[in-house]
Symmetry: D3
Subunit: 238 residues, 6 copies
């Protein structure tokens, strides 16, 4: 039995509130149960130095937890003077995941930064970040197209992410914090609409798993991402 | 005429949504018009090293802007590796302001940290932070008292803060961003319920002002803080 | 009674020794009693990036305490790897205060940096810094004008600063360290010759104060700055 | 055809030179073709603060590239003042991978640090690091057991790691640098002797892959790790 | 001919003003011509962690240049966030040099920090720092002995330092800035009263030198340090 | 008697393995007994900003110890976020020493960086670094000349370095770690083929020394460097 009483293949409720902040070109507050992440897309008419002259754009991600998003207060990374390895790892993952569904040539010489700030954490903050970042990106690109700044849509597909794990011997979908703290294995899947995989990060914790275990987690992830893709389309007028 | 059409002594609408996050001992989302700040109070049963053995507690503040709280995206302080002088100045002000209404002896050997994270900025983020931090602190202290961890209320009064300024020659209350960018003088007042001053920070920008100008700004601040004190009581069951 | 035996409206002796170092375009060692600050003005024919192409100059301030300027040795900020919030706050105040009396258009595309290094501290280091920085600035501008590099004087007035406070219930002028450590309220005023205010920073410590208290401190500050303006003119050939 | 002329399921030559440095409790220089990593295991009779009093030990990893391990010189992280996100990600992976085969209770209250310094890079440095770190760990534990400092062997299995990828449409084993730069997908597998998975990190680059693709890469990884396990036993007296 | 007109073995005028700041246990402003360094000795009743329980004390040095001590303004190390290699090298030299004449056992479990802050630079700042630091140390130890906190004098000798160099082919004593910038070789000697050497740091710049050259510089240094030793005794009541 | 049984003027065995890494333009692993340093020379067609437009090149050095090069593991400077004073001092020495034998005009507008990474330490790592860096530099310059990128040889001589010290009252050559930890004086000499001195750094530790002592150490250094010069020529086809 899961602590939340959910079935093994049951997601938490997903809600996506678009236009959560007024300055960003695209924004949403995405919730997976009690996990809440503010995702904003900022369009800047500049590109990183190493891309100059290639006629391409760039998509990147940043991630942070507010200090009291968690059960006990964490110290502020800006006060400590550096970002943790965990933060950097998640930022790199967000960026790679979104770039997997963007044609950077079509984007043109501009950069879109996806800021994912966790307001409240209850497990799965990185996967909620990716799923919400796609919505913010979609909205920002929509506004560039509406303004005539982009002729062709550079977004090639949807991208969503979900965590799965082996909890007390059973593969389960969408781990919340009590499950995550106690799971035998923990896997994050970044999937692309249409059945492709962008990224798999699967880690044994305590126990290990085999090929069969990996496949069962992947199949749960497919179920979860179908729900995410639908929720994304619901709010972006898909 | 003010860009917003407000009268010189007219505040923006204040809303305070308590219990905005579930982990913090006290929290609220406070809005002054389009300025929105998430304030959380975190209680920790530890004190700074220099207070040990004095039988007193501590109240401190931290402040941050989300990168896209503003018109154009600002770089993340955690990524730059240090907090700006502005951030540190505001953090110190939040801590001093709240300590002005707390009896640290009565608080006992514990620390309450007030995190003020600006979700959206439209002028007056530091004053909204202080006003919202008082609400978060009040709620956290209430829960300590309800749990029997505190016998006597350590909060001695309310504290609120508001900015005033001289805009096109006229003293006005509660500057929004368009006014703030173009004001001749800018003053932040931290006032205590009952008519006392905790802090005045008044700066000439371009033009200067005299004793009479300072007094007119102070009187506007008194009007503004009366409204803030009322809004605080409305949500804390005053 | 004040620890020093001074009357409530009595300043400490002010001395200003100009030309204290030979390389700076302007320099002085300013003393307010036992508080001694070395102020230098450095002229550089470059401006910050965000000012380029505007035909304006810039005036900025930096501040530091030598490690053993104080009763007990403080650690060196360069060794700790960052400037404290207090240092940054003071630096920003010095810069704003001096810019309040400089016409940046007339200064032309050059930067003047005012370095204020505290040799010995006994209260009031930031206000001594501002008062001495004006002298260093005046001397540096004089030499630019003498060399024909400036046609018109960009300095529009004198600026001086002084701290006042409420000590054992009495408003007093020019707090020294024993008073400062034990004051109920502490206010720094930056005033401009001719009766205008550039900046007020008034903080309650322990006790609070009201409008009447603020006015009494402001009037003491006016007395103090009259003395500072006179001392500045005495050494700059006013 | 692979640039090196290898068959799709053909590894590069693996060599492991044990005892490469004299001070470390365990050390080896591991080569996967032209990729060469110095792995040392350092035993310290202390544990991280958060483990105190639990009667457990800790195993952790650190990773660095020498500046000229690569085709063009990279700047030194110590000179830049921080470790890159990539470095931190790899360090965390090394630590997790080794802990997957160590019983921390049996290790007792001591820490073993696995330093992996890349002397020369030609693709697959993180997987060579993990594979070599196991050898260094095995040797260090052997010497603790020989000295009577450990009664029971805390190492529960072997761990090895290998990269696989899809290169010009074909799944291939053990990517070298020319392949890695041009692969459609890149996956790092950390496997445990006996058929279990410790970690999968699979990323689409440009193209994406599906369930079938992931399985084919995993099967190649199994082939590769069999070879690694054998090479490890050859030098540790298996 | 030297730019200053001095003879090859002629020092600049040395002045030492003791008691320059009132808080430090020992202090002086030392001048070698236009080079002026404020040296303070701070006594603290604590020792570095690695000395605990050994019954010994510690003597250490810190060094800084005020930003406008030099011809053109240098950026402040505290603002840059780190001390330069040059600064650290000089700090280490000051500490070693003073420890060469202190019996750390006799000093007891306390630390004396010698802060050397360059007010004005004209060549030879590190050697003036060492020479002045000895005076500050002597005065601080005198006051510890007068207060009965030290029974036996831990200072075993005097230490002084001077730079010499080969300027336009001629060995000269006490280089000033114009000579230093243009010397073929530059050597700093730290000598101990009674004819011993504490430290030699001799560097070829452009040209190199041989054994004979090194000896000629050492002999000039002996002449210089005799003068320094005498000036130190003059102000410390030798 | 020396711990190693060597005669006072006897060096440890020197071995130099060239071409140790394949990417660097020049490289070697140099051993002085158990001290082993990997030296690489990296040629870059760029120069530091302050050299632009002068038609000259630059030669610089960097230095690091692998964490477990030593008896007990040292923390990684990249993890601590800064290089120690010792590291920076050695880096500066390496750069100066190599520049003493390079005609920067003839080198042309390019930079050669000499990375010295200590694989295993047993005393004398800085002097082994300099001696090995010359070999790496020689090989890199040879390849530039072979490729026709350099017409004239910019290397004017050989440079080698060796430590000497006074051990239990006797001057000895090439200190190993047990001697270095227990020496009365420690001196590093950087000598140039043909009998010139590039740098002397001689420090008293515990005891001091006099002119005669310094000369005896210098004469030992000459013996040592003759051996180094010969070993360098043996591997560079001198």
């Amino acid at each position: 039995m899961r602590p939340s009483g959910r079935a093994p293949d049951e997601m938490r409720a997903i809600t996506i509130e678009t236009g959560y902040t007024k300055h960003a070109e695209g924004s949403c507050l995405i919730s997976f149960g009690d996990t809440k992440v503010l995702c904003t897309a900022s369009v800047e008419e500049r590109i990183p130095p190493w891309l100059r002259g290639k006629g391409e754009g760039w998509v990147t991600g940043e991630y942070s937890m507010l200090p009291r998003a968690t059960h006990t207060r964490g110290s502020r990374e800006a006060a400590r003077g550096k970002q943790s390895g965990r933060t950097q790892e998640i930022q790199r993952l967000i960026g790679r995941s979104l770039r997997a569904v963007v044609d950077l040539k079509k984007l043109g010489e501009r950069q879109i930064t996806l800021d994912c700030d966790v307001i409240q954490a209850d497990g799965g903050t990185r996967t909620a970040s990716i799923s919400g970042a796609w919505v913010a990106l979609r909205l920002a690109v929509n506004s560039l197209m509406a303004a005539g700044d982009l002729k062709e849509d550079p977004i090639t597909a949807q991208v969503g992410a979900i965590s799965c794990g082996i909890y007390k011997g059973t593969p389960v979908l969408d781990l919340d914090y009590p499950e995550d703290s106690d799971a035998d294995a923990d896997a994050n899947f970044v999937l692309i609409s249409g059945g492709q995989i962008a990224e798999v990060q699967a880690t044994a914790e305590g126990a290990t798993y085999d090929e069969e275990g990996l496949l069962r987690l992947l199949r749960l992830a497919n179920i979860g991402c179908d729900g995410i893709f639908k929720a994304q389309l619901d709010v972006t007028g898909g």
